[in-house]
Amino acid sequence: MQLTPDDLIIAEWGGVRLNATIVFTWLVMALLVGIARLITLRLTDTDTPSRWQNLLEVLVSGMADQIAQVSQREPARFLPFIGTLFLFIAMSNILAVVPGFQPPTASVSTTTALALCVLIAVPLYGIAERGLASYLRTYLQPTFLMLPFNIIGEISRTVALAVRLYGNVMSGTVLAALLVSIVPFFFPVLMQLLGLLTGIIQAYIFAVLAMVYIAAAARSHADDPDPNAGEGRNDETETKEQQHG
């Protein structure tokens, strides 16, 4: 039994090893890019878009909606990064039901790489939104004594992101392997179905947490101290929904 697809060597040429993580990451990337490219080649703006274009529109507008709700700001800036994270993790978790496919997210190296992307993206968005000095000052909030704790918090939440995703996906594959040897036929199928659900939820959670971290770093100090601002916005959407209904 193996805990990570890193140990599964698929090909080897003169010292260069190609393990299952890399191969299946490339596969997922190729699938995502290929499908998106194929669909976007034939985009139309008629009243009857193709069903594939419809699928993409639902995905993109749904992700933009979620980002707007979580971050309470214009989603266009964050959509490329957050959407890519979500689609990649969701795709590799869904494909885990395909026999022979080793989800790359069941490897610590993949999830660490994704979490490091978030770790780097947080200060980048923060500096872009509010400037270098203003962003660095958030590390000194509420007093300069909190500086080491803020830095530790930044690192520990990155570790938590990586280990959470890895642990969830890995537990699914390990459980499936164990159950196949104990109750071979029916029960593992149910666990695979449960794995589909947790896979999607974990992809969603990874994306939402990344968004929350970025939004917290990018929040300008001006709209920070007023706790009623958020509630006011909620009331507006509520009345809007009631009007629709």
């Binding site: 039994m1 805990l3 979620q66 709700q69 979580v70 938590a160 280990v163 959470r164 890895y166 642990g167 969830n168 890995m170 537990s171 390990v174 939820i201 974990q202 969603y204 959670i205 939402v208 947490l209 929350v212 909620n234 509520e238 929904e241």
Partner: protein, 92 residues
């Protein structure tokens, strides 16, 4: 009992204890969070979307301590670094 058997049995015992004790807290916490969220949805069905989203995110945060314990016990059982070192010393 020789060293290898001792390390193996202590590792397995500790892995079981880690998972058993480590899953109590998150289980209680998740149950409480879910019960509160259900009560909140029952009171305000209009806000179900927001409540569900927040519930999922907080469940993931609560769950991560249990996941740490699970990863740790998996490492202890399947890829025990100390046992590997002892085996390497014994072989070499």
């Amino acid at each position: 009992m020789d060293n290898i058997g001792l390390i193996g049995s202590v590792s397995i015992l500790t892995a079981g204890l880690t998972l058993a004790i480590g899953s109590i807290g998150p289980a209680l916490g998740e149950a409480r969070a879910a019960a509160q969220a259900l009560a909140a949805i029952a009171q305000q069905p209009d806000e179900a979307n927001t409540i569900t989203r927040t519930l999922f995110v907080s469940l993931a945060m609560i769950e991560s301590t249990a996941i740490y314990c699970f990863v740790l016990s998996m490492i202890l059982i399947f890829t025990n670094p100390i046992l590997d070192r002892v085996l390497a010393v014994a072989a070499g």
